[in-house]
Structure formats: structure tokens, C-alpha cells
């Protein structure tokens, strides 16, 4: 982009959080969270609904006061010197915060002025970002007339106007169509490449896999795992054997028959008639599975081996799926092991 992009001068931590706690009445939102994000890197913060992701972001962006612990952004304490923190961060909250009555251009110009960029620079940046986010045609329309995805893009553009050193993105691509999401990913990757430190929360594991250098999974206000995508996947175990059966009634039988191969908890999905078994031996397990099922009534429509993806990580760590709000069908909670620390 330009000379104003922050440089990666030293490899210090742009975000440093220790023992962060937050309660809302009797509800503990954060029960002691530690995290660090080295300057110029991207941390993906994952976790089911209500895990505390937004609360972390709101404390780090000076919107909420923590009840305990310490948080620094760019070396500045967020509680003691919120103004200095605000000068170097950009925030895109979980819900778009744009002024509906201002046009897209006016929204960005206003935010630029409030970052004290001056009139000319604010306008130039507004123009530049509107182009970058495909909003030029809508630039002079009040944001009221924008679609959800357009608002989202405008909101993200607003957080970038002053080229923040540290950027907080709370579920930045929720509500974007696949093409916009792709574009947003490229843009975020560009920013990260240019040296911006980014803390990104997301429900899309693919997104974290693609953008984040390191990931952290939180659940009920606690960190339950951290590491690179590969480390997290390794933690879940080797490969998975996946079978699709002819009828749901056969799922239980098949699971029982394949039990000797399972290296962990077998997952059964009635809806899709699918069975997912963690295995150790790879192709040998595949051959063995076909042998075990061979002489039985179980009708196998499809069978394959695959490496675990982050969905598996999520499911095994939190005991429920990423995008399913409540605790689901009461799947057993996997023991928490903390693989290679991100710190």
C-alpha cells in the first residue's frame, strides 16, 4: 500500500493479555484469559457462541473495563491510558456501526476526521477504501440504502481509515457472500503482509485456517487450546475414516463393528447418515473397516479417509459444533490437552 503502513521494526508483542477477567452480574464471561500477539502477526480467536470472544475484543478496544488482569495494546495499558490505545487501533465490531443517514463517503470522512487525519487526507483515504471495498458506486448514497454486506464492508473500511497498527475484527465476514468473503480474506492477508497486527474472531474455521498465524480456542471464558492450525489438528489425532451409509438405522451397528479401530470418540450424524471415526493406521484402517463391514447388512454408500479439519478440532475441544449455539446432543467433552503454546 503506502509508506504509512506500519513497519515490523521489532518482534515485540502488539497485544499482551494476562489473567483477564470479566463478570456480568453472576455470569462470568472471562475467567482468566492469557494471550499474546506478536507484532505483525494474526491471531484467530475461536470459540462457540457466548465463549467470550467479543468480550475480549471490547476490553482490548477500551469499550469495557475488565474486572481483573492486565491488557496492553502496543505496549500501552488499556485501562490506564485508553486514549493512547485508541490512537493506534482500528475496530470492526460484531455488528456494523455505520451512520445510516450519512453516505458511505461521509461515514469514512467523518471517522478520518475523528482520527485527526485532516480534511484532505480523510477524503483521499475514504475514496481509496471505497474503491478497495467495491463501494464506489454506492459512495454517495446514504448507508441506510446499503445491503447488509455493503454495510459490513463500509464498517470494516471505517476501521482501516487511519492505517491502525493493531486491528480488531470481530467476525468480519459474517453476513458476506462468498465472493465478498474471498475479497475480504485477500484484503486482510494483504494488511497482515504489510505488518498490521490483527486479532480476528470468527466462527468460520476455514477463515481462521486461512488467515491466522496462530489460533486460540476459548470456551466459557477460558482458553482451552492454542497453537498453529497444524498443531491443533495434530492434537485431535491422525486421520478420520468417514462413511456414509444407506440408512440411518445401520449407524449404531456400524459404529459398534468399527469400535476396535477407533482411536477416539466416534461421531454419528443421523441426518446425513454419516459416521466419522478417528483412526491411527490410515489406509490399513480403511482396508480393515471394509473387511469388518463386508459380511454384514450395513450398506456403505461412500467411504474415505481424510485429515482432520478445524471443525474436528472444534468439536473435540468444546464438545459441540462451532455454529450450534447450545450444548447440542450432550456429546462428551474431550479431555483438554494444550498443544504447542502460542506464547
Amino acid at each position: 500500500m503506502s509508506v504509512l503502513t506500519p513497519s515490523v521494526a521489532c518482534m515485540s508483542d502488539a497485544i499482551l493479555v494476562e489473567g483477564l477477567q470479566k463478570r456480568f452480574g453472576s455470569n462470568t464471561a472471562l475467567a482468566g484469559v492469557d494471550l499474546t500477539v506478536p507484532e505483525g502477526s494474526v491471531l484467530g480467536l475461536l470459540g462457540p457462541n457466548g465463549a467470550g470472544k467479543t468480550t475480549v475484543v471490547r476490553i482490548l478496544t477500551t469499550l469495557l473495563q475488565p474486572d481483573g488482569g492486565r491488557a496492553e495494546v502496543a505496549g500501552v495499558d488499556v485501562v490506564r491510558e485508553p486514549d493512547r490505545v485508541r490512537a493506534v487501533i482500528g475496530l470492526t465490531g460484531q455488528y456494523a456501526a455505520v451512520d445510516e443517514y450519512l453516505t458511505g463517503f461521509e461515514n469514512l470522512e467523518m471517522v478520518g476526521r475523528l482520527y485527526r487525519l485532516g480534511k484532505r487526507e480523510s477524503r483521499a483515504r475514504a475514496q481509496e477504501l471505497l474503491e478497495r471495498f467495491d463501494l464506489t458506486d454506492a459512495a454517495s448514497r446514504p448507508a441506510k440504502t446499503y445491503s447488509g454486506g455493503m454495510r459490513r464492508r463500509l464498517d470494516i473500511a471505517a476501521s482501516l481509515i487511519a492505517r491502525p497498527r493493531v486491528l480488531f475484527l470481530d467476525e468480519p465476514t459474517t453476513g458476506l457472500d462468498p465472493r465478498s468473503r474471498q475479497g475480504m480474506w485477500e484484503f486482510i492477508a494483504d494488511l497482515a503482509g504489510g505488518g498490521t497486527t490483527i486479532l480476528l474472531t470468527t466462527q468460520y474455521l476455514e477463515e481462521a485456517d486461512r488467515l491466522a498465524d496462530r489460533m486460540m480456542v476459548i470456551d466459557r471464558g477460558r482458553v482451552i487450546a492454542r497453537g498453529t492450525a497444524d498443531e491443533l489438528k495434530a492434537q485431535v489425532g491422525g486421520q478420520r475414516l468417514e462413511l456414509t451409509l444407506g440408512s440411518a438405522a445401520e449407524l449404531a451397528d456400524a459404529a459398534r463393528l468399527l469400535a476396535p479401530l477407533a482411536a477416539g470418540e466416534t461421531r454419528v450424524d443421523e441426518q446425513t447418515r454419516r459416521l466419522s471415526v478417528p483412526v491411527r493406521e490410515g489406509t490399513d484402517s480403511l482396508a480393515e473397516a471394509l473387511r469388518l463391514l463386508g459380511g454384514t447388512d450395513v450398506q456403505v454408500l461412500d467411504v474415505g479417509l481424510r485429515r482432520p479439519d478445524l471443525d474436528d478440532v472444534f468439536l473435540s475441544l468444546t464438545g459441540h459444533a462451532a455454529e450450534d449455539g447450545s450444548d447440542g446432543e450432550g456429546a462428551t467433552q474431550a479431555p483438554v490437552q494444550t498443544a504447542g503454546s502460542a506464547r
Binding site: L63, A97, Y101, R113, Y115, R116
Partner: protein, 267 residues
Amino acid sequence: MSSLSVAVEDGLTITRRNLVKVKRVPELIVFATLSPIMFVLLFRYVFGSAIPIQGISYAEFLLPGIFAQTIVFGSTITGASLAEDLQKGLIDRFRSLPMAPSAVLVGRTVADLALNALSIVVMGVTGLIVGWRIRSSLGEALAGFALLLLFAYAMSWLMATVGLLVRAPEVVQQASFIVIFPLTFIANTFVPTNNFPTVLKWIADWNPVSAVVQAARELFGNTAPGLGASDTWSLQHPVLYTLIWSALLLAVFVPLSVRIYQRTASR
């Protein structure tokens, strides 16, 4: 830049933003101008036909009263708009920016002051058409308008505090109606208070709105010898009493609302 010039600049940026909304939502302007016209006409011809005022026409008696009532109602816009900004997450956006902590509130109250000034102009012109007259000097008349606007501005900060605490625009609007109707009716706004029951008369005499109205009447020259105001101190020194109230409201609610703003978040 000094922190004062920063505060002024940021306050102006937010004022501009609020005025753009007025431009984009013409209903706002229509409401801000049509309803005062309607009030002037309604009161002038409905009450005016039944309420004889000694020594002056009802139009002359009425206009200072209706000025005061309208601008006090105008201050509720401050609270409702802030609650709306809070609800839509805009306050979160602003609070994450390195701007002056007073700017959002200053920008809001100043924009509402402009709206109030506009509605006074509209009411004034309507009043002149239906028989209101300014019988004082230009200086006194300007002082009258300034005093009205000062009181309205102070009320805006009170409503700003309410808006930040209540957080729901509709509730702010409804709750303030419950307070503002009695506040502007238990006063000398539309009728002389001489025949009020004792308790009401006492409230009316010390009601700051009565003082604002009395001060405006005196400054516009809309008084008559037979129309003696109560001999309470507040109505014998209405300008001073209004200034004291305005100063008090500002001294309490400017710092209070800024403090609340700095701690508030969208949920």
C-alpha cells in the same frame, strides 16, 4: 493541538454529522417547523377565544409561553437521538476512536440547539402573523431569544443524561412527555396562575419554566400593568432565576453525562 481545540473540532465534526441527518430526513424539519405553527394557531384561536388576559392580547401573552414549551420539548430529541446512537452501536464506534470524550454530546446538543433556534424563528413569524408583537428594544428582544435558547441548551444536557441511561429512544420520548407536560403546563405558560389551587400555584411560581416565560414576556415587552406576576422571588427576578437554573443544570449534567458516556457501551 490543545485539548480544548481538539474538543471543539471533534464537537463540530459530530454537529455536522447530526445536521446531515436533518437534511436527509426532511420529516424532521417538517416536524420541527409544522408542529410549532400548529401549536401557535391552536392556542391562539382555541384558548385565545376563551381566555381574556388583562391589558394585552392573548397572542402577545401566548407567544413567550409557547416558545418555552416548544424548546423544552425540543430537548427530548437530544435524549432520544443519543439512545438511538447507542442502540445502533455508533457510540461504540465513537468510543473506540481517539476523539474528545465530550464531542458526541457537544455535537448532539449543539445540533439540537440549531433545531430549536429554527423552530423559534418559525413560531415567531407565525406569531407575528396572528398578532404577536415585540414591544421592546432590539437588544432586549435578542436577549429574550438568547435566554430561551440558553435554557433549552441546558435542558438538552439533562435529556442527554436521561438518554444515555434509558437507552431506548421510544422510552426516552414517552418518559420525557410524562415529565415535560406537567412541567410546561403547571406554569404561567398558557394561562395566568392567579386562580390555580394553592399547591399548584406554589409549584408554578417556582417552576423554572414559569421564570423563562416571565423573563421572555418582560424582554419582549409582552406584559401589562394589570398582569402582575406573583411576588415570589423567582418571578420578580425571572432573568436571574433562569440564569441560575441554566447554570445549575449545565454544572451538574455536562460532567455527569460525559462521565456516563465514557463508561457506556451498546449492551
